[in-house]
């Protein structure tokens, strides 16, 4: 049974008592009869009914007899129990006790099957199909239909990923209702009528018959009660009864969404949404659903590699590789760079490894633009704060302000919950951003139009109260003063603040202390008491007290090459193009005397590393992600791969070789060691108080974030999924485009500080003058252009110029040339 999460209401729930099949039951007022029956163990068959969608009463499968509606009078005809609310003293007779209801249900099932192909033996849904199951439990064994079935050519592509076999469809409208109500992407709709009625590609917002362009399209496949909707990815690949299912958690964002991973003979076949009313309800993004093939690409690392004297990477045994890593790190000053894929337990292991085995605070998980202000904010407002703002809280807020966060792209489940909050509870969504996105429109939100870098002023001007929530995104690190302004605004209004990072491992890394200024649980490196507390727990005399350096600081230290500088790096889960200056990182890795890389797949780092240690992808290991809410989301290994080691097991091996063990070898032990530290009640960091920069006079600056479907490596191996991506565009307002001599819609080229450029079609949007928006990693990562958010940028009309350094030194030149 699926019931919506009951909000933590302060008011007592008003109960209504009725009788179903002779059994008295009390349920909250407003409950539908179909769900009240579930509470006494009677499952009324249904197709169109879904607890998270508005009732529609279309399929007529759930008919029951109501001899007394509570007023002494009954209904002369059977009623749809999915649309009828309970009433006091109502008497309901379901198929269990009423021959009328039973015949109505059986007759309806017979109707549903006359035009159904009954191709269960070749249908993906066969074995887990509500139509099949309910035909068995509530239908006639044999059909009386000996006539001609309606047929359709099969299948049609609703999108590249979602395929529709119309003749299997029972027209319950779950998919269209999901698209319209939950996702807000009503690109599919009913067409034609009578027995020819079918689902098709709807007219779309522009009336042009657009493809099903939704980040949430896969949910329609899952809620389809028949095999009408299938994914190109899974179609004809497996039978449900051959699959082994394991509950898990998404690794693609910080939502903590519950998923279920289905595998067969050691291979993951598909992923579906888990049912967690507190978190993702029953929905996940297409990225959560379809992106699991990254771990089985050809570049997967299977054995440890050690660079030999000839300079080539050579396969090595684990003991040899661990010993080589330890030898290289033994007497070198080392920095630790970790990325977003780490679990809480792994992040904790890196944190301990840096402090205990390497005797340094030079550790930072922020493989992206970052700032000292951000670290202070994380220390004061995020680390060690436990479960803070929750999904449920979003629905009860007065206003939710988004600052530097585009939830539809960066935290899809947050987007869905905010859309629900706005639709059902009238929550006001306000976005401090450069322009109105489709996502903001779908959250019925309003824009506080803000150029990148100017967030601090905009936040100071927000109207917040004690019931407001501010959600901040990680790209505020590019806007000096913004985190400070958020902290100040929250302090002043009593509004609550939550940090919504893009990556699954980020919140866990903050909790584990993968920051130069933080120890686990929000303890400050600078606080002697905190250091002593942690040192005692870890069984060491002391922890290093000199404050660490952040990612940029560590890399700069390597590059500076001084005698006391950093000479070695331990790198895990870092893509160089994610870093604000990938060129500098490349140089630093080259210059470092010794690099240890812990990776799942080959990367730019493994190519230059001296020791490469293969680690387990999440399906092959247990772990915990901490969601943006601060909620611990633990998962077990899906596949049993004894040769696949976790990061923490590998680190334990190196530390033991170094003679300074980290104290645990397994995920369970790491979790226990982390929990032993428990909540910190000592000194906490102060909120940052950084002033905003004075407005720069750059004629054109860049705003950017990453689209949900883009070129990230976690999405590799999914051509159909990528084919459903939104068309990447460069956005600016009409005046800005005109100043650059670009007609709206025609292509333009983005030019940064390197020879790499990015050419995309343009689109007019309501950005401020002098701001241009481009996707962060669609086609070419913007960091390869030498661009970070807020940086000065140029746009040129048309395709990439041959030598960008000579042509188009300013947009005006380009315009002159065109005229």
């Amino acid at each position: 049974m699926t019931l919506e999460a009951t909000p933590q209401a302060d008011t007592p729930v008003e109960l209504v008592t009725l009788t179903i099949d002779g059994t008295q039951v009390s349920v909250p007022k407003g409950t539908l009869v179909i769900r009240a029956a579930e509470l006494i163990g009677v499952e009324i068959p249904r197709f169109c009914d879904h607890p998270l969608l508005e009732p529609v009463g279309a399929c007529r499968q759930c008919l029951v007899d109501i001899p007394d509606a509570g007023n002494g009078r009954g209904f002369p005809k059977p009623q749809a129990s999915c649309t009828m609310e309970v009433a006091p003293d109502m008497v309901v007779e379901t198929q269990v006790t009423s021959p009328v209801a039973d015949k109505a249900q059986k007759g309806n099932l017979e109707f549903l099957l006359i035009n159904h192909p009954l191709d269960c033996p070749v249908c993906d849904k066969g074995g887990e199909c509500p139509l099949q199951n309910q035909s068995m439990s509530h239908g006639y064994g044999e059909s009386r239909f000996i006539d001609t079935k309606r047929t359709f050519p099969k299948p049609i592509e609703v999108s590249k990923q979602v395929l529709l076999d119309r003749e299997r469809c029972v027209l319950c409208q779950r998919c269209t209702r999901f698209s319209e109500e939950i996702a807000g992407d009503p690109f599919i709709a009913l067409l034609e009528r009578g027995a020819d009625q079918q689902i098709g590609i709807g007219p779309g917002p522009d009336g042009g018959g657009e493809p099903f362009e939704s980040y949430f399209s896969g949910n329609t496949i899952q809620i389809c009660p028949v095999g009408a909707l299938t994914s190109a990815d899974y179609r004809f690949r497996a039978r449900p009864f051959d699959l082994v299912s394991t509950p898990s958690i998404t690794e693609h964002d910080s939502s903590g969404a519950a998923i279920r991973v289905d595998h067969r003979r050691g291979k993951v076949m598909r992923r579906v949404a888990g049912d967690d009313p507190e978190v993702n309800e029953e929905w996940i993004t297409d990225k959560d659903r379809f992106c699991f093939t990254y771990a089985t690409q050809g570049d997967r690392l299977r054995t440890p590699l050690v660079r030999n004297e000839a300079g080539d990477l050579e396969a090595a045994s684990w003991p040899a590789a661990l010993a080589a890593a330890a030898r290289g790190l033994q007497s070198r000053k080392t920095g630790v760079l970790t990325g977003g894929r780490l679990t809480l337990e792994d992040a904790f292991a890196y944190s301990v490894f840096a402090r205990v085995a390497l005797q340094t605070n030079d550790i930072d998980f922020r493989a992206r633009a970052h700032s000292a202000e951000e670290a202070e904010f994380l220390a004061s407002h995020v680390a060690g704060t436990g479960l803070g703002v929750t999904y449920a809280a979003l629905e009860q807020a007065s206003t939710v302000a988004l600052v530097g966060l585009e939830p539809e792209d960066e935290a899809g489940i947050v987007f869905l919950r905010l859309r629900k909050a706005a639709r059902k509870h009238g929550v006001k969504v306000v976005s401090v951003a450069s322009h109105t996105t489709r996502g903001l429109t779908k959250m019925f939100g309003t824009l506080v139009r803000t150029a990148p870098g100017r967030e601090a002023e905009a936040v100071a001007g927000l109207e917040l109260d004690a019931r407001s929530i501010v959600l901040v995104g990680e790209r505020l690190a590019t806007s000096p003063g913004a985190y400070s302004a958020v902290a100040a605004a929250a302090e002043k209004s009593g509004a609550r603040v939550a940090w919504v990072p893009r990556r699954a491992g980020d919140r866990g890394a903050v909790e584990a202390g993968c920051l130069p200024v933080l120890l686990p649980g929000g303890r400050l490196v600078s606080d002697a008491e905190a250091r002593a507390d942690v040192a005692a727990a870890w069984g060491v005399d002391s922890l290093p007290e000199s404050p660490g350096r952040d990612v940029s600081g560590i890399l700069a230290d390597v590059l500076s090459g001084g005698r006391t500088g950093t000479k070695a790096l331990v790198v895990a889960g870092v893509e160089l193009d994610d870093l604000p200056d990938p060129e500098a990182a490349r140089k630093a890795l080259k210059k470092a005397q010794f690099v240890v890389s812990l990776e799942v797949r080959e990367s730019e780092v493994t190519q230059v590393a001296d020791v490469v240690l293969p680690v387990a992808p999440m399906v092959e290991r247990p772990g915990t992600f901490v969601s943006w809410e601060g909620r611990r989301r633990s998962f077990e290994a899906v596949l049993s791969e004894p040769n696949s080691l976790t990061d923490l097991r590998v680190l334990a091996g190196i530390a033991e070789e170094l003679g300074r063990p980290i104290g645990f070898r397994t995920v369970a032990a790491a979790r226990a060691a982390f929990d032993e530290l428990d909540a910190w009640d000592g000194e906490r960091a102060d909120a940052p108080t950084v002033a905003a920069d004075a407005p720069a006079d750059d004629p054109l600056v860049l705003d950017t974030w990453r689209l949900l479907v883009d070129d990230g490596r976690g999405q590799d191996g999914q051509p159909e999924y990528h084919a459903s991506a939104r068309r990447p565009v460069i956005r600016a307002n009409a005046a800005t485009l005109a100043a650059a001599g670009v007609e709206p819609g025609e292509t333009a080229t983005l030019v940064g500080t390197t020879k790499v450029t990015l050419t995309l079609p343009t689109e007019v949007a309501d950005l401020p003058d002098g701001v241009v928006w481009a996707p962060g990693n669609s086609g070419t990562p913007l960091t390869a252009l030498g661009l970070t958010r807020g940086a000065p940028v140029q746009i040129l009309r048309g395709d990439a110029p041959k030598s960008p350094s000579k042509r188009g030194t300013s947009p005006q030149n380009s315009e002159g040339g065109a005229a």
Partner: protein
Amino acid sequence: MTDTLTPVLTDDWADDRAWTLENYRRRGGYSVLETALRSKPADLIEQVKDSGLRGRGGAGFPTGMKWSFIPQDNPKPKYLVVNADESEPGTCKDIPLMMASPHKLIEGVIISSYAIGAKQAFIYVRGEVLHVIRRLRAACREAYEAGLLGQDILGTGVDVDLVIHAGAGAYICGEETALLDSLEGLRGQPRLRPPFPAVEGLYACPTVINNVESIASVPSIIREGKDWFASLGTEKSKGYVIYSLSGHVAKPGQYEAPLGITLRELIDLGGGMREGSELKFWTPGGSSTPLLTAEHLDVPLDYEAVGEAGSMLGTRALQIFDQTTSVVRCVLRWTEFYKHESCGKCTPCREGTFWLAQILTRLNDGEGQEGDIELLLDLCDNILGRAFCALGDGATSPITSAIEYFRDEFEAGMHTPSAELFPPAASTLFAKEAAV
């Protein structure tokens, strides 16, 4: 009970250029409009209630009571929607009424809108009848020019605007909630009730939806008085209505008479059956009402008596079939109509009509199978009262009633095509000429 014709709605149909404002005024039209608009809305509702006027669209719900359901304390705008999506097989009263006398409807719209507190009214006209849409629009324009519609009508301070909306060709849009969806620009499919249109109708605002004939009857009640109206008809079925006589009668057409007249009287008024004809079966109110036979010739045609006879008064679309007609073929044609017009929203109607049509086709072809009649009846039982709206119920009426009265013809369908038993040419209007 009176048994003579009482032309009220049809009184001016034979006039020269009957549809003009000038002719309508000559006949006394709009003469009481100002008085009506200066009286209290509640009094108007009371008058219509007391007159006993019941909905002429088929269901016969008391019109005044429907109006009184509009919550007047609701701050949202109120709307009047006239259902002119006349599409039921056999029903043909609203279209000639709107062609001949559009101002009767418009005057009714103005008074009714004022009574329910609506400043905006719509007439949703079946899209196929372009000539009617044009005539209504012309009449609407005349009324605006004469100050009868728009702001401050006749200086009374009452505002009523009227939109003539063309439907897009779907029988289901005659169902009032599907009509509202269609009027809003959505796909025409019936809505879940509650909320009822009186509370959340058009654009989620309180809305009254009435049939053309109901609204067109309102001016006469105001002009001649509720007691005059209530004096016509039978005890519970008051007033006059249009009876549409079609089929194998000598003079098919519209016959306006008080409720309670019998088919025998109407056929007599229509010059009897066509030559050589004898009545075999008939529908009292279109194809969705169970058919009746010659034994029901003396049933008073009002809501109660027809109901007691096992059918429904419906839209008084009296389709008369004589002995040349195959009931199986006739029922098949109707069923094909319902199959074609089923909106597809709910399973029983969508799939049921699809299936029924195939069984009836083989019975009509003389290829029926053992058990087909029982199957038809059982499928009808699985549709009736199980569908989302009344369209599904209506689709079963001709089948179950035809089997009740003419089971032997269905039995014959097991071996003999209907075309052999009842050659189709004999049923045509010009059968004799065709035979030559």
